[in-house]
Structures are given as structure tokens and as C-alpha cells.
């Protein structure tokens, strides 16, 4: 049993080496497939980053009536914090908001003068709320409007921002959906191309397969080396593709950062390196092995 296994591996490696042209072609096609799927994965990362970045910029504010006490406002804050959709919540007091305003417009004399003219703090205390996703603001606003303490709330600015928020949530879900369909389609095409390449390679060897059968080789003894060959082609493609992906990301990263500030492609790759590398190897080996098994099946009947 062990001897047979050893012979199958040796024979697979031998034909991989001796059928050089065919092996190179197979590896090349599989390399393209693995590279394409990895690129789609990384592109997904870029899209997610862009969406998250946009969503990060969206928030809603709840303004309280001027006479509402801080303890009541904090009570609302605690309740809102309990909603699972809420990611972040910040209480901004009247004084703080005045501070921030003066800080921001300290060079704008006209604004500063009119503020002084007023002689009082015109701002309302507020809660600044961030949800995990743009689509969740509706339910947060809804919660606030039906709260027991709603009489201390002056206004929720969700309704003013609603069109923008809804548009954003629509765009993100569209981008996600289109990206997914695009990726799946491309991946299917790529897999079919690789499968056909291996099928053609085995078609070229059908004469050899029939000879092996005629000298009394069992089906597994014939199939084995082809499967090993497929696996080797997958492994080699995965190794080359990993090297290319890491090199490309390393050199592309600084350039991409100019276009998308804050997104470091190489770091993203490093933080996901295990899934990328394992994924590439899994795709390569599974593709090679399965294509061989399916392609050889028809030549083994009889």
C-alpha cells in the first residue's frame, strides 16, 4: 500500500516534469485564476474600507430643550446606548458646543462679534449618535421619538439628513451586491477555464491511459499520478501567485494610499495573510485535484 502510494507520487511528479510544456500551460492558467480571485478579495477589502469610511462620516444629533436637566439627558443617553444598532454615543453640553464653535470660527470676526452681541449661549445640549450602518439610523430615530422622555427633546436631525443617509445606505448595498455578483461571475469563468485546461491536458494523454488499462493497472493506480500532477500544478501556481500578490501590494500600496487616504493595502494584506495564503493554496489544490478527477473519469470506463 505504502509502496503503491510512493509510486503514484513519484510517477505524478515525473510526468509533471516530463510534460513540461503542458505543465507550464496548466500552471499559468491556474496562476491567473488564483491571482484573479485574490485580487477580487483585496478589491472587496478596498470597497469595504471606502464604505466604512463614508459611513463613519454619517451621524445624527439629538437636540434637547434648553431647560432640560443634565441627568435627564444622561438618562436618554444610557437608554440609547442599549440599542444594539448604536455604535457610539457622545454627550455634548451647551458649554462644550460653544467652546468648539468658538475654537472653530475664532478667525471669523463677524460670527464672533454676533455671538458676543447675543450675550448668551445660543446652543442646545445634544447627543451625537453613530450607528454601525447607515440603514440603522431610521430605527434609532424612531426609538428616540417614542421615548418616555421625548418631551425634553427639541429635535432629532434625522429627518433633515434622511435623504443623504438613505442614499448612502442604498449605494453601499448596491456596491456590495454588484461586487458580489461580479466576483462570483469572474470566479466561475476562471474556474471553468482552469478546468478545461486540465481536461484538455488529460485528453492529450488518453492514449497513455488506455495503455495503462491494458497492462492491468487498477483505476486508482492510473488516476493517482494525474491527481498528484493536478495538485502539484495547484501548489506551484499558489506559490507563484502569493509571491506576485505580495510584491504587487508592496509596490502598489503607497500609490493607492494617495488615492484612498488611510488605506494601506500592504498592511491589509499582512493582517489577512493567513486567509489569503491558505485560500490560494486551497483554490489551487482543490481546482487541480477536482479537475483531474472529473476529467479522467471518462477515460477509465471499460
Amino acid at each position: 500500500m505504502f509502496t503503491a502510494f510512493k509510486r503514484v507520487i513519484k510517477s505524478g511528479w515525473q510526468s509533471f516534469r516530463r510534460n513540461g510544456g503542458l505543465s507550464v500551460a496548466t500552471v499559468f492558467i491556474m496562476l491567473m485564476v488564483i491571482f484573479l480571485i485574490t485580487s477580487l478579495y483585496l478589491l472587496g477589502g478596498v470597497t469595504q474600507f471606502l464604505i466604512a469610511d463614508l459611513e463613519e462620516k454619517v451621524d445624527i444629533s439629538v437636540y434637547f430643550k434648553e431647560d432640560s436637566s443634565e441627568s435627564n439627558i444622561l438618562k436618554v443617553k444610557d437608554e440609547v446606548a442599549k440599542i444594539p444598532e448604536v455604535k457610539e454615543i457622545e454627550y455634548i453640553s451647551k458649554e462644550e458646543i460653544l467652546d468648539r464653535f468658538s475654537q472653530r470660527y475664532k478667525d471669523n470676526q463677524l460670527l464672533m462679534e454676533s455671538l458676543q452681541e447675543l450675550g448668551m449661549n445660543p446652543f442646545l445640549p445634544s447627543l451625537n449618535i453613530k450607528a454601525w450602518q447607515a440603514s440603522q439610523y431610521g430605527s434609532v430615530a424612531n426609538f428616540l421619538e417614542n421615548n418616555s422622555l421625548k418631551n425634553i427633546i427639541e429635535k432629532v436631525d434625522y429627518h433633515e439628513r434622511k435623504p443623504i443617509i438613505e442614499k448612502l445606505s442604498q449605494i453601499t448595498s448596491n456596491v456590495n451586491r454588484v461586487g458580489l455578483i461580479f466576483s462570483i461571475t469572474l470566479a466561475i469563468v476562471a474556474v471553468l477555464v482552469a478546468f478545461n485546461t486540465i481536461r484538455l491536458a488529460i485528453y492529450n494523454l488518453r492514449e497513455e491511459i488506455s495503455i495503462m488499462r491494458l497492462v492491468g493497472a487498477s483505476n486508482w493506480f492510473i488516476r493517482g499520478p494525474f491527481i498528484i500532477q493536478g495538485a502539484i500544478a495547484g501548489l506551484v501556481s499558489a506559490v507563484i501567485s502569493s509571491l506576485i500578490v505580495f510584491a504587487v501590494c508592496y509596490f502598489l500600496s503607497p500609490k493607492l494610499e494617495i488615492v484612498i487616504p488611510g488605506f494601506h493595502l500592504f498592511n491589509y494584506l499582512i493582517s489577512n495573510y493567513l486567509i489569503v495564503i491558505l485560500g490560494q493554496f486551497a483554490i489551487g489544490v482543490i481546482l487541480g485535484v477536482f479537475s483531474s478527477v472529473i476529467a479522467i473519469r471518462r477515460y477509465l470506463q471499460v
Binding site: 510534460n19 491494458l214 497492462v215 492491468g216 493497472a217
Partner: protein, 178 residues
């Protein structure tokens, strides 16, 4: 070899109807028969040595046995110096001798030679027939299918004549007759 089914009639090997056998048992049956084909049917990506060793590997022979038997049989067919050549680097006669060595290596009970000299010149033909005769003298049944009148007449062995798929003559010491 149970490669094709007869339209009528049955084929027996060791009292078993080979077309009623389970397909999974066929490899085992084929290992008991050595076959020589008109077009040699050697594995092009394996050397002469590996082509012969393949049959032994299929039978589950040890590496030691392979190292011992293959050079021996290559010696018998006169190709000891071509062990590492690929089929494409050999002449027609040499390829057929590799094929005979392959058919011989596992000491089968029967060797089936289907037009083994069909693609060969008279010199090589004579060599191959002498080789088959020697194998037969060592105790292996050789079934030789041929249209070559000269070969049949020179052998003077049992001749079975087929016409349109039917046995029309079976003579103990036969001659080629039209």
C-alpha cells in the same frame, strides 16, 4: 483483453466468461496475460526501463525485484544498452522488443501478440518471431495473430484460421492457405 464486446459468442479465460466478469476484476485478469500490439503501445513519457517496470509496479512487485528482473528481460530482448531511451528514441523493431519485454516481465501464462510484426521490416520481423519462439519454448502459451504467410509456414505450429469472425480451420501443424 475485454476491450470490446463480441457481437455474438463468448470468450473464456480460465473457465470464466470475461464479459460477465465485474469490471473491477478486469485489471487482475489483464495482469495474467501479456499483450504485444502492432502499434507497440508504449508509454511515451517513460523510458524503456520504466515501461517494463510499470507492469511490475502494477503487480505490486518490490523495488528490489524490479531492479533485478527488468535488466534481465532487457538482456533477453537484446536492449540492455537502451534501458534509458524513450520510445521516440528507438526504432520500430526496438520498440516492439520493449513491448515484448513488457509482456514477458511478469511471467504471464499467455502472451497475446496481435500482428506484432505488422509495422516491421523483414529483418526485424524475423528477430521478433525468434524471440516469441524462445518465449514459447520456455513454457508460455503464445497466441500470434498475423496475415504473414511466410511466418505461418516457417513456424509449422497449430494454426487456427478465422474468416468473417468464424473459425473455419484448426490444424495441429497448419499452413497458410487462401
Amino acid at each position: 483483453m475485454a476491450e470490446e464486446k463480441p457481437t455474438r459468442g463468448r470468450i473464456f479465460f480460465e473457465d470464466q466468461d470475461i464479459h460477465k466478469m465485474k469490471k473491477s476484476r478486469l485489471p487482475r485478469l489483464r495482469r495474467k496475460i501479456g499483450t504485444v500490439f502492432q502499434d507497440y503501445k508504449l508509454l511515451p513519457s517513460k523510458t524503456a526501463f520504466e515501461n517494463i517496470a510499470y507492469v511490475m509496479e502494477v503487480m505490486g512487485a518490490s523495488d528490489k525485484e524490479i531492479e533485478r528482473d527488468v535488466p534481465e528481460v532487457l538482456e533477453v530482448v537484446g536492449l540492455a544498452d537502451k534501458a534509458n531511451n524513450f520510445p521516440l528514441q528507438l526504432s520500430g523493431g526496438e520498440r516492439q522488443r520493449v513491448a515484448i519485454a513488457r509482456a514477458l516481465i511478469h511471467r504471464p501464462e499467455v502472451i497475446l501478440a496481435d500482428e506484432p510484426t505488422g509495422n516491421l521490416d523483414p529483418y526485424n520481423t524475423s528477430d521478433i518471431i525468434k524471440l516469441l519462439l524462445r518465449i514459447n519454448e520456455l513454457g508460455t502459451t503464445v497466441i500470434l495473430a498475423t496475415h504473414n504467410k511466410g511466418i505461418i509456414n516457417s513456424l509449422g505450429r497449430r494454426v487456427i484460421t478465422l474468416e468473417n469472425g468464424k473459425v473455419v480451420r484448426d490444424e495441429e501443424k497448419g499452413k497458410f492457405r487462401l
